[in-house]
Symmetry: C2
Subunit: 236 residues, 2 copies
């Protein structure tokens, strides 16, 4: 972590390092949950879906642990400047990771539904979208691990592609519903799953904004991509 | 504010009071946005919908202002215990208020769609759900203003009713889609709007959890209603 070795108190460094490791392990769990949920949908694997559903509790309790650890660090170490930014960015990142976990739970519930052989085609574009989102989440977590602002900017920009795929998929699903009204309940399951994936992309975007905030000291939420690029380039 | 008058530094009290006022004013803006968006849907009022869409920027920038003010207070005042809890609860509350603003924007976009006279009936249950959600948001903001843990618990419980109404509405909308496939695109607009309202209810639940955390010093997220009741009753 960029702050490492800076503090007179070695104990403070250890605390920050331990929070960092906890966030990375939480991120790894969330990524695995997403991968498993998509695999469970693809293979209609009930057992795997149940495992995903029950694992979500671990993510929730990890979030609460890290949250508590960050608050204790603020109270005890009274961090300022870049240390404080790091803690604030961490608090926000884990909140988004926890919400990604909730979206994954929604996907796992759909994995428990069974699709007839002529409904299986509905799942193909869901899997494609899922792969894009897994990749985005992985890159967001990598950028967090390295506190890499440039990588975070790339993550942020990649959401545009996910949004386009999502929109195309929605149009396609709406057409299927009109063509085969009896399949509407099943198609709606796919609609909700696609929506969850799209929301996970939005949350990865949030995480990349927190990374940029931490690295450059600038809150870039609600700003244009151009302004974000300026922030990142100026400090290059 | 419960902390008022406690600090040796009058300036610190002023800073906390000013953050509190900013949160209440942000809450009031979000509540008005929601009311206006629902009114715009009901009366198919394009102008009002546009006003809601453009006002969202004010909410975003208010969130960033309050966020910055909270971080500066942490850095400058190094709050501990209840002061720190209040700042953390505030940071989380404004994040949820901002996201409620985003859901309201989605509602405003639907208000710009036109529904034919035989599609108008779709909007009736949306309005009913909307009234429940406005009430819940108002009560959550009241509980925040008074930092009233018992009121927050009531807000938390009231989400069950919203979820039931939402589920019933989804079943009804799915039936409409099957009966009249040509209306599917319009019905999907209503589906997304109902979903946004349901999500606003979830965010009001989050806010009530932050209030309970601030008042009782206990993180009650992911716990049962019973456990929350115990937390609130024990301290009565």
């Amino acid at each position: 972590m960029e702050n490492k070795g800076k503090h007179i108190s070695e104990q403070f460094d250890n605390e920050l390092e331990s929070v960092r490791n906890a966030v990375l392990s939480m991120g790894g769990m969330v990524e695995k949950q997403l991968t498993d949920a998509l695999l469970a949908i693809e293979s209609n694997d009930n057992e795997l879906a149940d495992a995903v559903l029950s694992n979500d509790k671990k993510i929730n309790s990890l979030e609460m642990d890290i949250d508590g650890a960050c608050t204790r660090i603020i109270a005890k170490r009274q961090p300022t400047a870049s240390d404080l930014r790091l803690i604030v960015a961490t608090l926000k990142t884990i909140a988004d990771l926890e919400r990604i976990g909730d979206e994954v739970k929604r996907l796992a519930r759909v994995a428990k539904e069974s699709f007839s052989s002529d409904q299986k085609h509905l799942l193909v574009s869901l899997e494609n979208l899922g792969q894009l989102v897994i990749q985005m989440l992985r890159q967001a977590l990598d950028a967090f691990a390295r506190m890499d602002g440039e990588a975070a900017l790339e993550v942020h920009k990649s959401d545009g592609n996910i949004d386009r795929q999502y929109e195309a998929m929605m149009r396609q699903l709406m057409t299927y519903m009109m063509e085969d009204p009896r399949s509407i309940p099943k198609i709606m399951d796919v609609v909700w799953s696609a929506r969850s994936l799209e929301r996970i992309g939005d949350r990865c975007q949030n995480i990349s904004e927190y990374i940029i905030y931490n690295v450059y000291g600038k809150d870039v939420r609600h700003t244009s991509t151009e302004s974000m690029e300026n922030t990142v380039q100026r400090k290059r």
